[in-house]
Subunit: 480 residues, 2 copies
């Protein structure tokens, strides 16, 4: 990102005006488009707002931009349009299309993190840099000189990775699969996207857990699906609720995250698993089992997946490396009947022509290497350590103000705030104090919950982050 | 892929029956699903059809599968369903969803290549293994030990790659862009997919070239767009046709591939470029410029892109490494107004959570390295060599039977067959003789055209491949 040169003889505001003029001339901001606000631009460039105001004044004086009270500053059209030339109305194009943007809270968090990388991050649902097997992957990369063909890959994914996953699924998840029934995806997100786009139609009813990660994904709404809720308690969803939703709404699919559920951390009780599978087979109802967290089980005993008990073929099983190795590999998978795997592979070819073979090779090598099991063990130990730091900090900073169950696996802790508090104000206040987290309403719950991801923040920042959160909470309450 | 063991004491048909039983038990073929035909399975396993028939007989005898004349062989439901258990009707799920499957010809070609990798491939629109910079990438991988954070990447793509592309676009394409106006995609395919999904709505009219690669992509139909044709002659599309389509159908966007157009190889004439941009600005109409082939210009003088002459910001410019470096990197980009780049990045996060950072780093290193320019030079020389081999073979084998213009860039040669011939029969006959190519109707043209990709086949196979094609053509004509 460009920054003005503080040692230059040219005044800062002039440098900024020149820079904006260049960005306009280069097409980043076409005629008629809205510029970032003075406040936002000042934050990005690390200067005072008054400096940006001077730069804008300069540009306005030359007629390059124009401002209207209440509607921001735009690139002027008169200056740039010789005679009757017209720029497409990009604003209307970007607001057209049926594909919905991400939730405002999620965009706010992403923007805050982009503007200030020193925020303590309890929001991003991923591992910290030092939990990912970077050294192991670097070692594998230097052991295996790259020699493969770099063409388009098999539409279902790189065959040696699918073969390695057959072994992985049997050893670690008790699932017997064939390579032809595995589709490699760029992560659970793509698996869910393909299912909602290709196996369901607008108007179809589906059941999702409440609260659940699925609520944070506008893709369900973009696909025109009708969503019905399966409340999650400490032991997961209740199978009889599935039957009730089927009777009432003819749901066509159930989306579940049975192990260390995101965000609640709950594990579906053994008896309920059996019943859920019985209901599914009684109703011939597919279950999409999202299973990214199981191998983080802190006691080293991952709960069995539904798929391992699935006798009639009701379950589409989704897995990923993102939460147990590195999200930056962008490698996930789906175990499905062959006809489904082929159908989704065909659709994915049209969307992105498949994944790069390079991270797939790395994932296959890593899975088959002697590094994998020790990595998992180290990961579990460090996650417990971080969870304990978080629990300790919460108990110290917020006694009586919060309630939570201590999770036995996963990356998240789900917290009920005892006092009533405004989600948005609390997030705003948190960002101001240097900490981000995800308001529970993002996951479809009522206001007053928070998801803390303890895996992402640096160990040494956890206590400080919760201290900042406590201040933000108290301020929000005080100001309310 | 599993194959029976010919040295085993167990008869082949028994091994095959056991293997199919295992695949059924593992969920690859759930109860009620269709098994591959005896003929197809025999080809996959490399055995006689009679062996597969014996294996199926064995499985039928145990009640595991059942056959009905004319509707193939299915996994039986009675055997697998204890009491009133039901498998979801996966067939109806896989045929549901509004997302259309790939064109039958494209699936047929893919299937033929998967079953018989020794086919001479004039169909896959990509570079041969020895044209990709594999040694260069291997060298860069061993020079730069991997140390980066492997977390989720910036939604618009890896910043150093976008910075490298700013330099690339200026130097090689005469386009001045800022990193904030670049979106990294997994290739042109994803760029097109994002545009059709997010900037257009069902029912919108758009103009695409005829013939064009766009016709081979059911994604336009899946998005509910109404397609109108811009005929391509030797000098590309005619700008007045755009105006006429706008008047008649209020087209909302134009998709064009001005340089070495796929499949015709034509280059949009200089005068028409100017007019096209004038029409676009007069009508405030966006042009999507797909520009993957320019740097293959055999004389080393790539035609300028529309974007470099775009004064009012009408053009979304799409580029890719697939045709000039390696499709297996899965790296493309789009240059767009910032608001559009951000909108598409947000949507892409929901679809796949972005690209792996690893191939992006490799691409950035490769672009910035001293390997890039010599690679391009070598690529151009080898493409000319291959093109000349193809032209020579066509002139030798099919004098008077075909007509074509010799392309000055790109990977393809577009051929008119003089005699009338049935597209599907010709392809079938070609596959039988060991050669694949793409029937022109895939690109929306009338029957009687063929696209030969000369970049993909091995140099030593080109003459033989065309000899096989000539036999296939003569046989098809003889039999017609």
């Amino acid at each position: 990102m460009w920054k003005p040169d503080r040692h230059s003889r040219q005044p800062l505001y002039e440098q900024i005006a020149d820079h904006i003029e260049q960005r306009i001339a280069y097409g980043e901001f076409p005629p008629g488009s809205l510029l970032p606000s003075e406040r936002k631009m000042a934050a990005q460039l690390g200067v005072n707002r008054s400096t940006v105001i001077m730069a804008f004044d300069e540009l306005r004086a030359t007629g390059l931009i124009e401002s209207k009270t209440g509607s921001g500053t735009r690139v002027s059209t008169s200056k740039w349009e010789v005679a009757p030339k017209h720029t497409p109305n990009w604003k209307s194009y970007s607001e057209g299309g049926h594909f919905l943007p991400n939730l405002p809270f999620m965009r706010k968090i992403r923007e805050a993190l982009a503007q200030n990388p020193s925020l303590i991050d309890f929001a991003s649902g991923e591992l910290a840099a030092d939990l990912a097997p970077i050294d192991e992957i670097a070692a594998l990369m230097s052991e295996h000189r790259y020699t493969s063909y770099l063409g388009y890959d098999n539409p279902q994914g790189y065959v040696p990775l699918r073969q390695a996953l057959v072994g992985y699924l049997e050893k670690h998840r008790g699932i017997r699969a064939t390579e032809a029934s595995i589709l490699i995806t760029s992560g659970s997100q793509q698996s869910l996207y393909l299912i909602t786009q290709c196996l369901l139609s607008p108007g179809d009813a589906v059941a999702i857990e409440d609260p659940s990660y699925c609520y944070s994904l506008p893709m369900f709404q973009s696909a025109g699906l009708r969503l019905f809720r399966l409340p999650v308690d400490r032991h997961g969803v209740r199978p009889e609720d599935v039957r009730a939703l089927y009777k009432k709404h003819r749901i066509k699919m159930v989306f579940a995250n049975p192990n260390f559920q995101n965000p609640t951390g709950s594990v579906l009780a053994a008896e309920r698993r059996k019943q859920l599978l019985e209901v599914a087979s009684e109703l011939a109802l597919p279950i999409v089992e999202d299973d990214p967290f199981s191998l983080t089980a802190y006691d080293g005993m991952p709960p069995a997946p539904l798929k391992s008990m699935d006798e009639v073929g009701s379950v589409l099983h989704i897995g990923s490396f993102s939460k147990i190795a590195a999200s930056g590999l962008r490698i996930g998978w789906m175990v499905a009947p062959r006809a489904i795997a082929e159908r989704l592979a065909d659709a994915r070819q049209q969307m992105d022509f498949g994944l790069s073979v390079i991270p797939q090779q790395m994932a296959a090598q890593f899975l088959s290497s002697s590094y994998f099991d020790p990595h998992l063990e180290r990961l579990r130990m460090q996650l417990v350590f971080k969870r304990d730091l978080l629990v300790e900090a919460l108990n110290k900073e917020l006694p009586g103000l919060i309630r939570f169950a201590v999770p036995d696996g996963g990356l998240h802790l789900w917290c009920k705030l005892v006092p009533e508090v405004h989600d948005g104000k609390l997030l705003e206040e948190g960002i101001r104090r240097g900490v981000v987290f995800v308001p529970g309403s993002v996951y479809g719950s009522d206001s007053g919950f928070v998801r803390f991801t303890f895996a992402r923040a640096r160990t040494e920042d956890i206590a400080e982050g919760i201290a900042k959160f406590a201040e933000a909470l108290k301020d929000t309450l005080g100001g309310a």
